[in-house]
Symmetry: C2
Subunit: 443 residues, 2 copies
């Protein structure tokens, strides 16, 4: 390992947090008054509000509206230190984290590295598909969709044309449903005005879901409503179907059906993003760390894991908590309090998940929500669920500026039926269409 | 040349506009009611509001706030067609423009390709400097500034540290002055909070101007005020100085002074961006096309040039009009009317430049403006000039959404003293600092 990074020594125990997603950021905040030095390490210098990534991907929001620099969020917190670096491994014996900028000593280590896209070992899929886990992904999808249409203008052959206009979305969870809905809104309200030369009746949006229902894990009502809404919006939903292979042009389903599309969006699964160096036995299937009720990684006294990367088996959740924002936030907050307790000789409290329910939006005035309040569950749908979804997401955003900008952007889009951010800046996966497939000159 | 692009034939004369800057876009709009087909070709699918690029570069605005997709701006204009392509050459005999996506026929061709950064043949400078001509440039500068500071945290050696904290800006025109001012504001209000571990008294901002005054072309009052304001803000202004060489680390001035900085911002000059294929005699020094009073390129009946790429010699402007937005906008508008006139058998009107004055902002409450109203010139400075500058720029932005977002962003920044968009997304020119210069382990 290389030399140590240059970090002030505060003469206090140092808590090193790897990853500034919902869990890591909440933990850093919760340690504001604890007698510790907090060191957050992340590859990016900003926190990403992942639930709205799909809106960046579909030109509804600017990436600046949903990210917030860590240094800005925590500039007032005196014990907070940030390092932009990639974590390479952990050495538990030496209490060191090896990073791309040198080693960092820790007294307590918290792994909050989240989850990464799971292609289940399909390398061809990984090469050709677009995921939506990061801002880079979202920008790439936006650019690809727009580039596709720019290129479609040059094509005469119908199959070639359709390969650029059609989209396959794999995965019927919230992300898949939300992207399908957003694309169908663009098809209805925005693209026909932008590309008058194209016939958007030719644009097909396929949503492929391996199970029998959409939004698995939500109520039957929500699943049903989501399916009905998507059908109404003209999305072709393939239930009980899997994409067996995809070569960048043809997606072959396990039922034999072939879908031609140059763009396939992969929202079908995630897997934990572990850090090398810990004992292999603490890593469970799904690449998640086995943790106890205090989020302590099995076999370690001073190493913790929170959020998607942690798997806490409980009676209510024998396979761990859902890999969404709420458990991460709650575990981050509790762990902050628990570390404070330990350092002031108090007892740690075990984690109990407070499930507030879940929601997904399908499009303008259409959403579904299962809300848990005072032990009761309420099922909302349509406009009221859409309003609830909007309010919850604006409030949950980090930073007043982002809240204001998102609220205004949405209000603007709602009344204008427009999504204004249709510019191509940065990388695209759109293929350069060299010539018409029939080889004839394009006239 | 390859096959023709697939473009509808409207049975009307076709006006092909190359470049959608201020001139090209204004021309396209001015042809809305003319009996022509308007085809705009641009490398990007969006118009860039160049005067505010420096704010994107300094984390004050999101790139989405200052760009607007062409298709969105002109979605209501029935005779407007857009193609995203790179223009490779023109064949005046065949009346064809060769592009990256095929050939486009024209009846009238308008070159509005603008200007590009002029490094005066200094290849080493071109390699190491960052320019501010495009959104990509602005994003690169923003990322580089922020990455520099992230890396500076790791350094112990003072020269190395300063090489990352210091900035050299070459060129004392509006762009150079505005960037110097914006960086000094960040140094005062933002960076010290973000990077408490760094001592920002060490951050030097050098502005190198080849002539004896800043803002050449503006009034003596404006030049003087800009210099005073920048000095007050702690910018080191080098007048009558040129950067002789820059190797990515040391900038050597012609007076022998050496400035150590890993980031040099080049705002020192532009040159026309001509298209191959026209007769060489019509290209004047500075790579601008010689045009007559109707913006017709010398020697051609149906080829025009407007904006920065055009050089119209007049008594008042023997070296052509200033390469800024106003002449481009006015030439675009007039040429639209003139083409309409020609096609309806009326006489074209010669161009007369209506100089409305010019302005530059230095920072919070500090700007200078020379405003020409009813033949009189007014010199404004300080808060009132800053307010005038803000109003003019918000009003001039394309699209109501952009105006609203910029206005809000500015209001927010003004009262919070914050520039919120300090995230690193996309490419950076910041070097990876491998080790301390003394070779010692960083502890």
């Amino acid at each position: 390992m290389e030399g140590l990074t240059k970090l002030e020594h505060l003469g206090k125990p140092r808590v090193v947090i790897v990853g500034g997603g919902f869990g890591g950021l909440e933990l850093a905040k919760a340690l504001a008054d604890a007698p510790v030095q907090v060191v957050l390490i992340d590859k990016q210098n900003y926190h990403t509000f992942q639930p709205l990534l799909y809106q960046v991907a579909t030109a509804g929001l600017d990436e600046g509206d949903i990210v917030s620099p860590f240094r800005k969020i925590l500039s007032e917190q005196a014990n907070f230190y940030f390092r932009m670096a990639e974590v390479k491994s952990v050495d538990p014996a030496a209490r060191l984290v090896e990073t791309s900028i040198g080693c960092v000593r820790y007294d307590y280590l918290v792994l909050a590295t989240g989850a990464t896209t799971n292609y289940f070992g399909d390398e061809e899929m990984a090469k050709h598909a677009i995921a939506i886990k990061s801002v880079d992904d979202a920008i790439e999808l936006r650019n690809t969709v727009l580039s596709n249409f720019e290129q479609a203008l040059q094509l005469g052959d119908r199959e070639q044309l359709n390969s650029l206009l059609d989209f396959v979305i794999v995965g019927g969870g919230p992300t898949g449903v939300e992207i399908a809905g957003a694309l169908s809104e663009l098809r209805k309200h925005v693209f026909p005005k932008d590309y008058r030369e194209l016939d958007f009746r030719e644009m097909d949006i396929h949503l492929v879901q391996s199970g029998p229902v959409l939004l698995k894990g939500m109520s039957e009502n929500a699943s049903h409503q989501a399916l009905e809404s998507l059908k109404k919006f003209g999305v072709q939903v393939w239930l009980d179907a899997r994409v067996k292979s995809y070569d960048g042009y043809t997606a072959t389903l396990n039922n034999g059906k072939q879908l031609i599309a140059r763009t396939l969006i992969w929202a079908a699964g995630v897997t934990g993003d572990p850090v090398p160096g810990l004992d292999a036995t603490c890593l469970l299937p799904g690449n998640r760390y086995a943790v106890d009720a205090y989020n302590r990684v099995q076999g370690y006294e001073n190493i913790f894991a929170i959020g998607d990367i942690a798997l806490m088996k409980t009676d209510a959740f024998p396979e761990g908590h859902p890999m969404v924002a709420q458990p991460a936030l709650q575990q981050g907050r509790l762990l902050g309090q628990n570390l404070h307790r330990v350092l002031t000789n108090r007892l740690m409290q075990p984690f109990e998940y407070d499930d507030k329910g879940s929601m997904a939006t399908i499009g303008r005035n259409h959403a579904v929500a299962d809300i848990k309040l005072f032990g009761k569950e309420y099922h909302l749908q349509g406009f009221i669920a859409w309003l609830a979804w909007s309010v919850v997401h604006v409030v949950a955003l980090v930073g007043f500026r982002n809240r204001l900008m998102v609220l205004l952007g949405w209000t603007w889009s709602y009344f204008s039926f427009d999504k204004g951010l249709r510019y191509i800046i940065g990388k695209t996966k759109s293929p350069l269409v060299e010539a018409d497939v029939e080889g004839k000159a394009i006239v």
